[in-house]
């Protein structure tokens, strides 16, 4: 398949891997931000083929994993309301809240539906004027334009039965939280290519300068990943800081300007709690006052539940990259995809689930 096969060519990938081996004279630790990249690394087996001196740790870039328990409980409470259709992307339905997950609520009789796009949720709202249609909007900057578009469309259509439960998070503040933490050991970043396709990479430049790290905007195919790692190693060896762009076939410095304008029109930046990490200032998006009629949190007074996590789960350490899933004493024993102790084991993009699916040793 064009635009895919050329980035999965074994010969090319092995050539870059050996170039990484030749370039890395000292041990380096870098982080890939995005859960999609974590999966490519493990799915293609790159993690086992890297030289020992290059360590890649997995970042908090799984939107499902970092969605706080309270927000999932809110979604469940909304789904249980009569005459309500709760919609979300498939992954979100399996993450347990304090009591149950959305799939169980669906089995109880609630109308919970998987959609492929928030615009499908808008169509549902048009088709069911007697129902409240709520879209559980999780995700990073990648999904923000489509979610903003859904709200904008609902507004243009004059829909009064559509709203979103926003749990949007932003990548740069999370990177700063990781770099600024006292146990940080990340020396360079592979930035998430799809996030940067939307947002560009201007906002990463001050981070690279302030924390003196290289940041390489990287794609998602195996060849993208090894190239991103190679560029990061070369920059680290040369002592170079700043932003470089491996994913130039998709990413421009200014990003997708109309998409950014739409996000800015509908959303504003807010503080946001991240599951396993805590509140990160200015790390989320909420609807602007002009669109607050579409805010499910305002619309449905859902009692907030104080949710507690399993004391055995070290999701915070996993999401900050200080501990690898295999180093967790619960991994694969008490904590499996059937019995997850925390979100990184539930979501298919979670680091623990990726290790469980692809990385267990025989």
């Amino acid at each position: 398949m064009r635009f895919v096969d050329e980035y999965r060519n074994g010969g090319d990938i092995r050539r870059v891997l050996s170039a990484i081996g030749a370039a890395a004279r000292r041990p380096w630790t870098m982080m890939e931000i995005c859960g999609g990249q974590t999966h490519t690394l493990l799915r293609s087996g790159i993690d086992r083929m890297l030289p020992e001196s290059v360590e890649v740790v997995h970042g908090p870039g799984c939107p499902v994993c970092v969605t706080p328990l309270e927000q999932i409980d809110r979604a469940i409470a909304i789904a249980r309301r009569p005459k309500t259709i709760l919609t979300s992307f498939g992954d979100m339905l399996r993450v347990p809240g304090s009591d149950v997950d959305l799939l169980s609520v669906k089995a109880e009789g609630a109308d919970v539906r998987i959609v492929y796009s928030p615009l499908d949720a808008v169509k549902l709202a048009q088709a069911h004027p007697d129902r409240d249609v709520v879209f559980f909007a999780v995700g990073f900057e990648t999904t923000a334009p489509a979610n903003a578009m859904a709200v904008w469309q609902a507004h243009e259509l004059g829909l009064t039965n559509f709203s979103i439960l926003s749990s949007h998070v932003l990548v740069p503040p999370a990177m700063e939280a990781i770099l600024g933490s006292k146990d940080n050991r990340i020396q360079g970043f592979l930035a998430a290519g799809h996030v940067c396709t939307v947002m560009g990479y201007e906002e990463y430049e001050p981070i690279a300068t302030r924390y003196r790290v290289p940041i390489v905007v990287t794609g998602f195919e195996p060849l993208d990943l090894v190239q991103g790692i190679y560029m990061t190693v070369v920059a680290l060896e040369a002592g170079r800081v700043g932003v470089e762009n491996q994913y130039s076939r998709s990413v421009r410095r200014e990003g997708n300007v109309p998409a950014r304008r739409l996000i800015d029109q509908v959303f504003e930046v807010c503080d946001r709690p991240w599951r396993g990490i805590g509140v990160i200032p200015r790390s989320g998006l909420r609807l602007r006052p002009a669109y607050e009629a579409y805010d499910a949190e305002r619309r449905f007074a859902v009692e907030s539940v104080s949710a507690t996590e399993s004391p055995l789960c070290i999701a915070g350490e996993i999401l900050r990259g200080t501990t690898k899933p295999r180093e967790c004493s619960q991994f694969g024993t008490r904590c499996t995809p059937e019995h997850p102790l925390g979100a990184p084991m539930v979501s298919s993009e979670g680091a623990c689930a990726a290790y469980f699916r692809y990385g267990r040793t025989a």
């Binding site: 398949m1 799915r43 992307f89 009591d99 089995a107 059937e338 102790l341 298919s348 267990r360």
Partner: protein, 355 residues
């Protein structure tokens, strides 16, 4: 809150461990780990008997010196009509194929219809004719049946159950337990066609080319193989629900052998691969209807490929892997860049990812 108590390990899982739901979820029928748990922890222990314990696509019964295969399958597919077939043809093919995977020539089928009040009579005619045509193509009569109607809103238009009996070819024993190290694993055609065709209709996704389900009766294809290779064919399975990955996991578990796949040799059509990329689905886990997995002794592999490829339904047959002694019970895959990874059972249904 009182001071923090020492962690109680007996309650250390998530509030609701996903394996032990108090109610049935859709994923219990998804062919993944939850389906397997239902079978292993509820049905098999309760119904326990030697014939069932084999856990093949059908049961093998010794009747008056002959070996009969007996199988049943229910169909709840939505939409009822889809490119390449409908619930009627699918129901006939499903049971015919279950019998074929036991090495049995289908002899007779039953058809049980559960109809929802309000189903257009035209639709029922279409389904009935389609069952008739599918049965004729598979050369098997529908000899008995049953009809029930449920209140409007209590069904999804129509559900179909078929059951069938067949006679196992003399000298043939194909069962998952016969997979052994050294066997070569062949897939008779391209993966994931049926599942992606259904999904694209169901979700209103359109691609440049129309994807059509490959649903078809497999007996004719399989018969050639069994007549040509006899007992050198160890296992036959059609990787329906849960796809090739789930079926191979079942076989690996049942025979307590390892299976090693080669990613570069997995047959996936360009259009299906493209759809899977867009939807974030792994074709290894997508449902199939018109293909089967064949485990054959190594020295028969070339002949098996030749036989399969000479049949119109097997033209894309390919060797996709082998049975190994290492990692018994698990399926591993050698990635196209030379890395390895485990190919696990999915917990529930494969869900499209977020970004």
């Amino acid at each position: 809150m009182s001071e923090r108590e020492a962690p109680d390990f007996s309650r250390a899982a998530c509030p609701i461990p996903l394996g032990e739901y108090p109610t049935v979820l859709l994923a219990h029928g998804g062919g993944g780990r939850l389906t397997q748990m239902l079978i292993e922890r509820m049905f098999v222990p309760e119904f326990r008997n030697e014939t069932l314990d084999v856990l093949h696509d059908g049961a093998i019964l010794d009747v008056a010196g002959a070996k009969l295969a007996f199988s049943t399958d229910s169909f709840v597919i939505r939409p009822i009509f889809f490119p390449g077939g409908d619930i009627g043809s699918l129901a006939v093919h499903g049971t015919v194929n279950d019998l074929a995977m036991c090495g049995a020539k289908p002899l007779a089928l039953s058809a049980g219809l559960i109809l929802e009040e309000g189903l257009p009579m035209d639709d029922l005619w279409r389904i009935t004719r389609s069952m008739k045509d599918a049965a004729a193509r598979a050369d098997v009569p529908i000899v008995t049946g049953d009809t029930k109607v449920v209140d409007r809103g209590k069904g999804d238009g129509v559900y179909v159950n078929t059951a069938g009996i067949g006679v196992v070819l003399p000298g043939i024993e194909v069962t998952p337990k016969r997979a052994r190290p050294g066997d070569v694993v062949i897939l008779s055609g391209a993966m994931a066609v049926h599942g992606i065709a259904i999904m694209s209709v169901r979700e209103g996704l359109t691609f440049e080319t129309e994807l059509r389900s490959d649903s078809a009766p497999l007996w004719d294809l399989v018969r050639g193989l069994l007549e040509g290779l006899g007992s050198r064919v160890h296992v036959l399975r059609d990787p329906t629900r849960g796809g090739v990955a789930s079926t191979l996991n079942e076989i690996a578990g049942s025979a307590k052998v390892g299976i090693l796949l080669d990613e570069t040799s997995l047959p996936v059509g360009e259009d299906v691969a493209g759809a899977c990329e867009i939807l974030g689905l792994d074709p290894l886990y997508v449902a199939n209807e018109g293909i089967c997995l064949v485990f054959v002794e190594r020295d028969g592999a070339d002949r098996a490929l030749e036989i399969l490829r000479s049949h119109p339904m097997g033209s894309e047959a390919a060797i996709i892997g082998e049975v190994v002694e290492t990692h018994p019970g698990a399926v591993w895959l050698k990635s196209r860049i030379g890395g390895t990874r485990i190919v696990d059972l999915l917990t529930g249904e494969q869900l499209p990812r977020i970004c």
